[in-house]
Structures are given as C-alpha cells and as structure tokens.
Symmetry: C2
Subunit: 260 residues, 2 copies
Amino acid sequence: MIVKTLKVVKIGGNIIDNEEELYGFLEQFSKINTPKILVHGGGKEATKLANKMGVEVKMTNGRRITDETTLDIATMVYAGKINKQIVAKLQRNNCNAIGFSGADGNTIVSEKRPVKDVDFGFVGDIVDVNPDVVKLLVNHNITPVFCALTHDKKGQLLNTNADTIASELAISLAKDFNVELYYCFEKKGVLQDANDDNSLIETINTLTYQDLIHKGVITDGMLPKLNNCFHAINNEVAKVCVGKTEMLFEINSKFTNIKK
Amino acid sequence: MIVKTLKVVKIGGNIIDNEEELYGFLEQFSKINTPKILVHGGGKEATKLANKMGVEVKMTNGRRITDETTLDIATMVYAGKINKQIVAKLQRNNCNAIGFSGADGNTIVSEKRPVKDVDFGFVGDIVDVNPDVVKLLVNHNITPVFCALTHDKKGQLLNTNADTIASELAISLAKDFNVELYYCFEKKGVLQDANDDNSLIETINTLTYQDLIHKGVITDGMLPKLNNCFHAINNEVAKVCVGKTEMLFEINSKFTNIKK
C-alpha cells in the first residue's frame, strides 16, 4: 500500500493579520496537490473586536484569561469571520475546503484547564483526537481548515492553542498518512540570535534542543512551539518544519528542520 | 434500492433566541434516527452585537441593508457563535454534527443580488447547490448544521435567507433521498387568523394557496416562506411541513402540510 503524504500547515498572526499576505498564501496553499489541512490562529482581530465592544482583556501574571465574553469573541472571530473568509478564499482558488472547530465532527476533545494558581477560564487542554471525519474528507480531496477552538463533549467550547491543535492533529493522522507538519511564522526558523535572520539553525534534534534551552537561545513563545514540534516528531509524524511560508513553496528555501 | 428518508429541519429566531428552548430542541433533534440536516437563522444576536459595537442597522424602505460591517457581524454571529454552540450541544447529545456555511464544501453558491431600486449590499441569491459533501457526511451518520451564509465562489461570503437555504438543500438531495422539509416557527402552522392558534389550516395545496393569498390570509413574511415550501414540493421534495417543533416529535401534533 502506498502511504499518501498529508501536509498539516499552521499559520499564525503575521499572515492572518495581513489581508494581502493571507490571500497570497491561500492561493499558493491551494496548489499543494497532496492531502492537506490548514490550522490558523487568531491574530489581532479578536482584540480589535473586544475593543469595539468595550470589553477589557483580562490578564493574570501576563497570561490572558478567557472569560465567557472572551470565549464568545474568540468563537465569533476565529470560527466565524477568519475561518469562513479563509474557506471562501480557498473555494475561489478551487480548493474545496471545510471549516472546522474541534467540536465539528467531534474531532478534538479537550478538558477545561484545572485551576491551580491561575484560573485561565475557558481554555481547553486536548485529551482526545478523533480523526475519522478528517480522514474521510481528505480522502475525498477536501481540505479541513481548523480554528483554535475545541470542545469538552459536554456542550462547552474551549479556547485552545493552535500550535497544539496542529501537532495533535498531525499525530492522530500519522498512522494513515506520511504526515508533514509545518509551523509557519514571521521568522526563517529558530534563530541563534532572534534579531538576525542569518543566524538560522537548520536542524534541531532532541539533544541540541536541550542545549539550546540551556543556553537561553530558545525561550518564551518558542519553547511551547518547539515542545509541540518534538511531541509530533516523537509520535510518528514524518517531518516537522518551522519557518516562513516559503518553506512550503520554494525548493531552495531555508528553515528549521526538527529531528528526533 | 431502498431510498432513505432525510429530514431537513429549519429553525428560526423563536428557538435560537431562547437558550432553554434551543437546548431542549437539540436534545430531541439528536434522537431523530434518520439522516438529518439542521438549518438555522440568526435571531436577535446579530442586532445585539451590532448595538454593542455601536453599528447602526441600515434600512431602506423597511428592508435591511447588508453592508460590509453587517456582513462581518452576520459571519461572526451566525457561522461563529450560534453555529458552533449548536454543534457543541449536538455533540453532547451524541449527535455527530459539522457546522456549514454555503462556502464549506462549496455547497451553496449564490450571486450578489443585482441592484435595481435598492442595493441590498452583501445579500446572495442562490444559483447552485452542490450536495456531494453533504451526501458523503449524512451517509456516514454525520449531521450538517447550516447557517444563513453562502458564497459567490469568487471569495465573497453573502448573507442568504435561511428558509431558501433549507428549500434549495432539500431539493438538491431529493434525487438521492426521500426528503422531508420542516419549517419550525412560533406558530402551529399557517393560520386563518394570525392571532388564533385554533384556526390552523392543516393542508394547503397550489390551488388553495392562491386563494389564501387572494383573500389576504397569507401576507408579509409568510409569503416568501410558503413560496419556498411550494418550490420544494414542486421539485421532488416528498413532504413539506410548517409548524412548531413538536411536529417533529409528537405523533398527534397538528401542523400545516403543503401539498402539490
């Protein structure tokens, strides 16, 4: 049996927030001729809507708290506006897409994060992925587009990290496909010096990863992203890459390759 | 070959706007053991959000105009909040559902209503229905949940009447299923006297319909609804009913039956 390649592509705020960038990306993404899944974060749109509605963003120790209103806003912006605009643009490019939250098809089940020091509110940690509907669709040449929401199977939607959604989806499909996972963001990949695009680290493996953390090269937001990368590569995902979207489309582009 | 029954159920504002009513309905709807599709309108939530955002509702000759901001609000509320909350509640009831706009699966293609006397803005009249993805899903025991948005296949989402979405979907599936179409609203059905629930007209056919219009019994909002009913019954939909949700669940309930 030939195992088909399936690309899971996560895009972040730098693409979502720039209409021209987004539509250009979607045009190229549509041309990928293997089965594919798109996962998108939220960008600044949710904050803009909160401001318009006069809703305060609640923070505790620098961490955002998702109260009921914030969850509604996330649902409206991520699953509504951004997701459906992406689907409509993909359809224009003859890429037959369907928008998903984790509730759709019961695909991603999470549990509300337990309250320890901080009550993060309606934030979900993934406990189960059911890829059956996704498999059915990609095998019919349809592209699922996931936003960063999951559900607890008890009727509650929950805000969930888009990087984690991408890695868990990739892992859940790795039994049936040769899965490649691409984290697209504003930089060429993991950099030795965050301000120097020429300091790209082209390969990171489990050993060098520990070293880079130890040396303080990988910190802050890059730490959870790379944890998601290693979680995927250690669970049968065939290829995990971090970089600019060009890594998907340009043969000679450079990016960071995650190895076991 | 046995032709399966498929129920297309449209619910309106009277159910959407009342959480208890909605969740009670979804619990019962989940138990329907034939293939089924839910179509929902918007209710008052979009107006509430517009008010919170300080957005004015634009009207011309008593008709609502969908400008860009209003379309964004509709996309956020209908495809985001309402649709995903319905999907999450159906999942709780073990009904495997997937939320749809007409852009998802390229299912419902519309064209922006041409400007004559009034420019309605981003309102779409349906020109094509592609039920392939819907068929694939219902044949796998998955329930599509449609909100009142379509797309023009050129990247533009468009606001579209939910009653029309329900009838066009029903017609598009009538070749493959024994389709029953249910329009659920706040009344027992078409009434001789709009204020008297005891004046139910139990059957309307093409002939009596013309007579009821002529006599002024069917006017205003009921006219387009019944036009959708007759459009469906005249295009291979097996059964078309108008009434309260109880018509779906209670054997002896009374409602209006539309006949050729």
